[in-house]
Symmetry: C2
Subunit: 342 residues, 2 copies
Amino acid sequence: MPRIIKLLATLLAILTFWNPMNSNAQEKTAGYGIVIHGGAGGEPDKWTEEYKKQRRDGLKAALDLGLTMLKEGKPGLDVVEQVVRVLEDDATFNAGRGCVLNEAGEHELDAAIMDGSNRACGAVASVRKTKHPISLARRVMTDTQHVLLIGSGADEFGQSLKLEQAGAEYFRTAKQIEAWEKWKKKIPDLTLHRPKAQGDEDEQLYLGTVGCVVLDAKGNLAAATSTGGLMGKRWGRVGDSPIIGAGTFADNATCAVSGTGVGEDFIRNNVASDIAARMRYGSKSLAESAKAVVQTVLPEDCGGVIAIDHRGNIVMEFNTPGMSRAAADSKGRYDVLLGKDN
Amino acid sequence: MPRIIKLLATLLAILTFWNPMNSNAQEKTAGYGIVIHGGAGGEPDKWTEEYKKQRRDGLKAALDLGLTMLKEGKPGLDVVEQVVRVLEDDATFNAGRGCVLNEAGEHELDAAIMDGSNRACGAVASVRKTKHPISLARRVMTDTQHVLLIGSGADEFGQSLKLEQAGAEYFRTAKQIEAWEKWKKKIPDLTLHRPKAQGDEDEQLYLGTVGCVVLDAKGNLAAATSTGGLMGKRWGRVGDSPIIGAGTFADNATCAVSGTGVGEDFIRNNVASDIAARMRYGSKSLAESAKAVVQTVLPEDCGGVIAIDHRGNIVMEFNTPGMSRAAADSKGRYDVLLGKDN
């Protein structure tokens, strides 16, 4: 009897792998691809045309750089780092320059990067002096045996490597100082933080994290995420961006993921690694996995993810009114989007 | 044809759930259970009898408290917090008092707690003033909408709640100051950290994190982990203990896990959530999942995990010479162990 069960189990295992329902109908099998996001906050339908153009231009510039690098055969890890640096430099997005400010009106930056070929990864949280937190995260990965460095220690590590430094006058833009001043007046009780604040400043409160995931020409996946976190955050609050498996993840065996939204929900639900686990152990496609996690596991109006798998399938899944995002691949796809369909 | 495939797939799904090979042979179905660990560092065979007794006594005291609370029907979350507090107070273990010291000879403490019934969680990293980091982590979970607070901000949050404070004279024991002085002399090049240091101070370098996982009488799972991290750590290095899904995880649907070892490997491999994912999506037992992750995913001599599932199955899996650990349950199990079998 046990032998029959064993035979049956083997047969089942084979059939499960063969089952055509478990694979994505639009499966791609070669080439390179890139997806980027600039946050899932705000309601794009209510944005001015000027603001929409600004965001689309920012995404497009980052996408074009990434696409050029991929065409040249550059490693995915270099691509995600350079693309995120462009978004960090762009004050339109909540990462690097132009980041939202914490309770004290200061900047505190988080970032993470991961190499899908060997699961090497690096992350930093609450850095204040390093101009490009994503590059600092990469050096944590390559120049230490650690994964996560935080606070002034992380900045000191960057200084020891002579990474470019920057001060408050660089990171804090007039627009963000103004948004912070409004926020400060509006939220009298700071005892409890609301991840979701009400009112017309929403788009300033949730400008959104930036991220990039890539499948390079050699078939390697990479992911990078960078953020200023939550407007008015206090007590050294850290979100999901620098948490490997929550807001950032890459593994050649499955996919590369970068998330944006209410970081706490991404952490407690292991969003990025859950998507990978559903593919790996549940034999689901990337699209099915990302949809299940974003649309059924995460609370409503929480955020979204960008992801790409080892076959070049691209996913941009969110449960908010919009997610600033862009995607391109070697098959000629080229999209820059803000709202549900535009 | 597609209808036949659909039918086959449904049949397969049913058979997969029925397949007796997928369930643990010694499956338990009721009652409560508790597992604790006090680190996977050092070689127990080389320890003095006195040191072994000291560690066994510490584990036993923590286990007895947890067992009594479980018998009384206390919630699992209260049990893991109180048990970890006992281990934090015990200078034998690398958490709270008696923790290892960072490069500067200072203490920096990390902790996390997670409620399996709703995936609520709280964590703190690099705190220096709060006497019981695990209780601070719990208050992050219950008194904020955040998951992770770090550095002086986390301590300020604890002070605002009037949690008990402590200074260097409390945390830094003579034994740890001595170990740190030896370490300082021995490692001239601090540029790169070796997670694994050589020599006879190994047991002091890797005294080990503490943790507790519980299935309570109501069927709820909970996990808690607390640590002083890595001897001589610098640049605000944070390991896996406060990272939900890496060193700490609990979900009633699968299991509760607490890890100990080279934190970086636990983070990049999402150790705790990977064990849960193999159960949830791969229909593996807790024992199979934990064994696969610890023995095949993690590098050799890296660390271990304690875990308990929603049926009360207990796992203590490690790939080091030993892991200080203890387990007890409502069926009368009562074990306190240090090495492979003793």
